[in-house]
Amino acid sequence: MTAASGAGAPGGTALFRHGEAVTARRVATPMWLRAARYWGYQYKRTWRSSVVTSFLIPVLYLAAMGVALGSLIDKHSHGVDGVTYVAFLAPGLLAGTCMQIGTNDATYPVMGAIKWMRTYLAQLAAPLDVYDVLLGHLAWIAARLAIVVSIYLAVMAAFGIVYSPWALLALPAGVLTGIAFAAPVAAFAATQDKDSAFSTLYRFAIIPMFLFSGTFFPISQLPEWLRVVAYVTPLYHGVSLCRDLTLGQVGWADLGNVAYLCACAAVGYAAGRRTFARRLVV
C-alpha cells in the first residue's frame, strides 16, 4: 500500500479520510460565536456557585445597606431624591456589580488566555482570527452579565423596589455598563505581562469609582470639582441609567448615558483590536 492511497483503502484505519469528517453545514456558525461558545463550555463547570453568588450578593447588600442602614436614612432625611434608600441604592449597586464583573472577566481571564492557559493561541490555531477571539470573549462576558443582571432584577422585584416596566430595559443597560468596562480593560490586559497592573487598576480606578460615582449617594453631595470627575466616569452614567429605569424616571438625559457607555465600549473594542493583534499576531 502506498502512503498516499492508504486512507480509506481496505486495511486503512478509516481515521483519516481527508476532509470527510468535517461535513459542511448549511449555515456556518460565525467565528466569534465559536469563541464565545468555548467560554460558555468553561462556565458550565462553575455555573452553580456563580449563580448562587450572583443571587446572594444583592440579597445581602440590599438587606444590610438598603433595608437596615436605609431605615436610618429614611427616618432622618425622608429617603433620597424622593424614594426610599433601598430603592435608590439597588440600581446603583446593580451598575457597580456590572462594572466589577466586566472588569474581573477582562483582566485575569484575558491574561490567562494569553499566557497561562494559552486559550487564545489554541483558538488562533483553529480557523478563528484574532478579532473573532476578542469579540467572542466580549460576547461571552455580555452573556454572563445578562445572567447576573437578570438574577439581580428578580431580587429587586422581590424587595418590591421595581417601580416601572422600564426596569426591563435595565437588563441591557446593565450589560452595556459591564461591557463599557470589559472592552477597554481587555484592551489594557492584552498589553500587560504581569498581573500586578490589575491591582493598581482596582485600587486607583475601580474601587474609587464604585464609591464615588453615585452608587451609594447622589453626586450632588460631592464638592464641585469631584462632581466633575464623577461625571466623566462611565460608572456614573451606568448608575444614572439603571436608576432612571428601575425608578421609572426616564428622561432625555438617559440617551446621553447610553451614548456615553456605547462610546466607552466602542473605543475599548477598537483599542482591543489593536492590542490583541499586536500581542497575538507576531
Partner: protein, 330 residues
C-alpha cells in the same frame, strides 16, 4: 472573497487522494520567505515546497528560525517578506480557510488543563463547527489512536507530559486535516513516550497525512522525515533525504578514538591523513572515512594505543554538527 481555482476548492475524496491531479498542487510552497522581529532576521529568505503525503522536516539548533517558519506556514504569524502558498491559498487573505484544513501541534501545549481529556477534543471540534455527534465519534477513535481511552474522563492537568502531547496531537487531528504541523513534538519526553509518539506519527504518515515537523533530535528526523532541511541562522544549510545528506556532508563511517588526556593535540597531525576529515574534540578524535576498520588498523600499525575505539556509521547528527557547528547556541 478571492476566487480559488476549482482544483483547489474541492477536496479530493479518499479514493483520489493519491491521484496525480491532487498531488500536483504542493501542500506548502515558499519563495524567499522572510520573518523579521524588529532588526532581528529570524528567517532569511528560504525556498521550499512540500508535496502531498510527504513528511518534511526542519532541523536546526535553537534560534535557527524553525519555529518562525512553522508559525508562518500555520498562518498564525504574518510574513515579513517573500511569498507563501499553503494548500494552494494565500495565508494573508485566507488564513482561516487554510487553518480549517490544517492541524497544529505547537511547541508548548495549549490544552485546557481544568477540563477533561474528552472535553478538550469536544471544544476543539466546535471551533471547526463540527456537529457534536461527529466530534464525539471521532474523539473516541482518536482517543484509541492516542492510547488515552481510559483517561477520557480525567482532567488533563495531572496527565504525564507524553499523554498531554498525545492529546495535543489527537486534538490537532479532530478536524481530519490534510496537513499536520508539529513543532518539536517530542521535546522534553522520556524515551518510552517518544517512541510511542513516533509510532503514532509513523501511522499517520502511512495513512497519507502530510506531516511538517521541526525537531532537534536527529533520530526523530531519520525515523520520520522523507525529506528535510537543516536550518542555521535563518537560512537553509542543506536540503535532501536523510541518506542524501549523510552522503553529501559526511563519510560512510566514523572512527571515534579516545587517548590518554593531553595526547590528542600531539597525535592529531599524524592521524589526519588517515581520514577524509578529522575533528579534534576535548575528549576524543573523530576520523571521517569510508572504511572505518581500515583506518583503525592503520592507527594500530602506527603504534598509537587508544584507550577506547569505536567504528560506527555516519548519522544525521554528524551532518547536523558539521553544518551548524559544535558551539552551544542559546
Amino acid at each position: 472573497m478571492t476566487h480559488v481555482p476549482d482544483s483547489e476548492q474541492t477536496r479530493p475524496d479518499a479514493a483520489s487522494a493519491g491521484s496525480a491531479g491532487a498531488a500536483d498542487v504542493p501542500m506548502v510552497e515558499a519563495h524567499g520567505l522572510v520573518k523579521r522581529f524588529g532588526d532581528f532576521v529570524a528567517v532569511d529568505g528560504v525556498d521550499f515546497s512540500i508535496a502531498r503525503g510527504e513528511s518534511f522536516g526542519f532541523l536546526g539548533p535553537n534560534g535557527a528560525g524553525k519555529t518562525s517558519t512553522m508559525r508562518m506556514i500555520s498562518c498564525i504569524s504574518p510574513l515579513s517578506g517573500g511569498t507563501l502558498r499553503v494548500l494552494g491559498m494565500d495565508p494573508a487573505s485566507e488564513g482561516s480557510r487554510i487553518r480549517a484544513r490544517m492541524g497544529l501541534v505547537p511547541q508548548e501545549d495549549s490544552l485546557d488543563l481544568e477540563l477533561t481529556v474528552l472535553d478538550n477534543l469536544m471544544i476543539y471540534g466546535r471551533y471547526f463547527d463540527m456537529p457534536k455527534k461527529v466530534i464525539r465519534e471521532r474523539a473516541d477513535q482518536l482517543l484509541e489512536f492516542a492510547q488515552l481511552t481510559e483517561r477520557a474522563h480525567d482532567r488533563v492537568d495531572p496527565l504525564s507530559g507524553g499523554m498531554k502531547r498525545r492529546l495535543t496531537i489527537a486534538r490537532a487531528l479532530i478536524s481530519d486535516p490534510d496537513l499536520l504541523i508539529l513543532d518539536e513534538p517530542t521535546t522534553g519526553l522520556d524515551p518510552q513516550a517518544r517512541h510511542l509518539l513516533w509510532d503514532r506519527l509513523y501511522r499517520l504518515k502511512q495513512d497519507g497525512v502530510t506531516l511538517v515537523i521541526t525537531t532537534h533530535y536527529m533520530d526523530e528526523a531519520e525515523q520520520l522525515c522523507d525529506r528535510l532541511v537543516v536550518m542555521d541562522k535563518g537560512r537553509f544549510a542543506a536540503e535532501g533525504t536523510p541518506r542524501q545528506l549523510i552522503e553529501a556532508f559526511s563519510t560512510k563511517e566514523v572512527v571515534e578514538l579516545r587517548f590518554a588526556p593531553g595526547q590528542h593535540e600531539e597525535l592529531a597531525p599524524s592521524l589526519a591523513e588517515l581520514a577524509e576529515r578529522q575533528e579534534v574534540l576535548p575528549d576524543r578524535i573523530l576520523l571521517y572515512t569510508d572504511d572505518g576498520d581500515a583506518a583503525l588498523a592503520e592507527v594500530a600499525r602506527m603504534g598509537h594505543v587508544a584507550q577506547s575505539t569505536l567504528v560506527r556509521r555516519s548519522t544525521l547528527e554528524d551532518v547536523f554538527l558539521r553544518l551548524t557547528g559544535r558551539t552551544l547556541v542559546d
